[in-house]
Every structure is written in C-alpha cells, then in structure tokens.
C-alpha cells in the first residue's frame, strides 16, 4: 500500500510561492538501452522517451523525464486511485520489458515524494540552496535536472512557467520541507 504519511501537513503559502505535496502519483523507473526497449515503451505508453539530456516529454496521461542516457522516470499526470497501488501500465510494461529482458521496470511511486512549487519566487528559493545554474533551466519549460538541494538529492522538473515539481526521496522529504519553510520565510 502507498504510504500516506505526508511530509507536508498542509499547503504552505509564502510571498510569491506556494508549496504543496501532490499524492498519490504513480512513478515508474525505466532502464534500458536497446532500440527494442525504446520502441516497446513507445508503443505501450504512446509516447516517445526523451533522448536529449535534461529534457522531458508528456502525453495526455503520462510524463517521462530523462534521468540518464539509459534511465527514465515515467509518472502519471493525474492523481491515481488511493485504494490500491496496482497500475495497469506497470503490469503491462513489466510483462513486455522485464519479462523479455529488454530492460527493467521498477515501481517507485512510494520512493519519491512529489512536491509542487508554484509562484514567481521558485527559482529564488532553489538558488538559495543549490549549486545548479538555473539561468537556462528557467527559460525552458520541460527541462529536468538532478542535483543537490541543501545536500539532498532531488529531481527538478520544470512543468510550466512558474511551476516546478520537486521529487525527493521520502525519508528526506521532511528535512527538505523544514528547509523550504525556513528559506522561503526569508526570501
């Protein structure tokens, strides 16, 4: 079952910034290299995995993010059913990819907490604790980066203008939230 103990007790509002957790979201980790792997994924989820570094692609139902030359994360655009964590797409891909040894499919829905940051100050907030240069990132919607935010591993997805999704490992989410809380109050 999904762990619903949220790291974020309530939605937070600051000047020019709102922070909320979006859950439950289905997340899958896909790894593979071969051409067969890519075409099988493409056929089954009806989208092409982004091949260019630090980019993402999305369809009606799913968004996929480039993590590494042979690694992607696919997530559902909409909130999934709270009552169970069986996803048709995971079963389908598991049978077509993992069983046929084309690559690997791992359900990481519970591993990552998805935090949505909204507002014009999101990049000011992240720059205050991150060595990454956001100057190109903020201009390009759809860009993805994995970096360190206050020494915590995060995946940052530029979803739309003034809105980013932050993916953080569940055990670090509470610590990250306390940092966001502290840092946002001083923006």
């Amino acid at each position: 079952m999904l762990n619903y103990n949220s790291s974020l007790k309530e939605d937070k509002n600051y000047q020019g910034l709102t922070v909320r957790e979006i859950s439950p979201i289905m997340k899958l980790n896909l790894r593979g290299k071969s051409r067969d792997f890519l075409t099988t994924i493409g056929k089954n989820i009806n989208m092409i995995l982004p091949m260019e570094a630090n980019t993402s692609s999305s369809s009606d139902n799913y968004t996929s993010m480039w993590l590494s030359p042979d690694e992607w994360m696919v997530l559902s655009n909409k909130i999934v059913d709270k009552e169970n964590n069986n996803y048709d797409i995971e079963k389908l891909l598991f049978n077509k990819i993992s069983k046929t040894k084309l690559g690997s499919v791992t359900d990481i829905s519970d591993q990552f907490v998805m935090i949505n940051l909204n507002g014009e100050k999101i990049f000011d907030l992240m720059s205050s604790g991150c060595p990454f240069d956001f100057s190109d990132f903020r201009l390009k919607v759809g860009s993805v980066t994995q970096t360190l935010l206050t020494h915590i591993d995060v995946i940052i997805h530029h979803k739309e203008a003034n809105s980013v999704n932050l993916f953080v490992r569940r055990s670090f989410s509470e610590h990250l939230m306390s940092w966001i809380n502290d840092s946002a109050s001083r923006l």
Binding site: A53, L67, S68, P69, P131, F132, T147, L148, D153
Partner: protein, 91 residues
C-alpha cells in the same frame, strides 16, 4: 570549487561529483599467479603526480555515470573529459 562538464548532463558543480581515483589501471589477467608485491602494486600503488593526471569521476548526484578526466593536479584545470571505454589520448 570548480565546474565539471559531465559528458551526459553538461556543466555541473563539482559538489555533485565523486572522484574515483586514477584511470586506466588494468586488472591483471591471472591474479592467482602474482606475488604479493605485484598484487599490492596493482591494488594500492598510484602515481599521484603533479601535473596532468588521468582520473575517473562519477556524477553521483546527477546521471550516476562514470567518465574519465584529464586534470592538472597543480591548479585543477580540466584539460579533457571523455567517456568510459574511450581510448585515452596519447600525450
């Protein structure tokens, strides 16, 4: 602190990387036939030179890929970055 150009992700801060020691050290084909001294030579002995050094680096907090780097150890100037499996440049 310096910027490292990851061959997969592009320019990133050094704090996202881990150094992996000297590159292009070949594992002996028949470890059982080596004397203890020869084995120790392979395991522990590194050049640690002042000047251009061939190193392995890992983008731990990014794409988690290994790559090679030629770095001047006296001033941290990065001369060249190339992917794993590629031949080291001849000097």
């Amino acid at each position: 602190m310096f910027i490292i150009n990851c061959p997969y992700c592009g320019d990133r801060d050094q704090s996202e990387f881990k150094a992996g020691g000297e590159a292009h050290i070949e594992r002996p084909k028949q470890p059982t036939e080596l004397s203890d001294d020869e084995w120790a030579e392979y395991l522990f002995m590194r050049k640690n030179i002042k000047g251009d050094q061939f190193e392995r680096w890992n983008h731990t907090h990014g794409c988690r890929k290994w790559f090679n780097m030629v770095r001047d150890t006296s001033n941290d100037e990065i001369k060249l970055i190339y992917k794993m499996g590629e031949k080291p440049p001849t000097k």
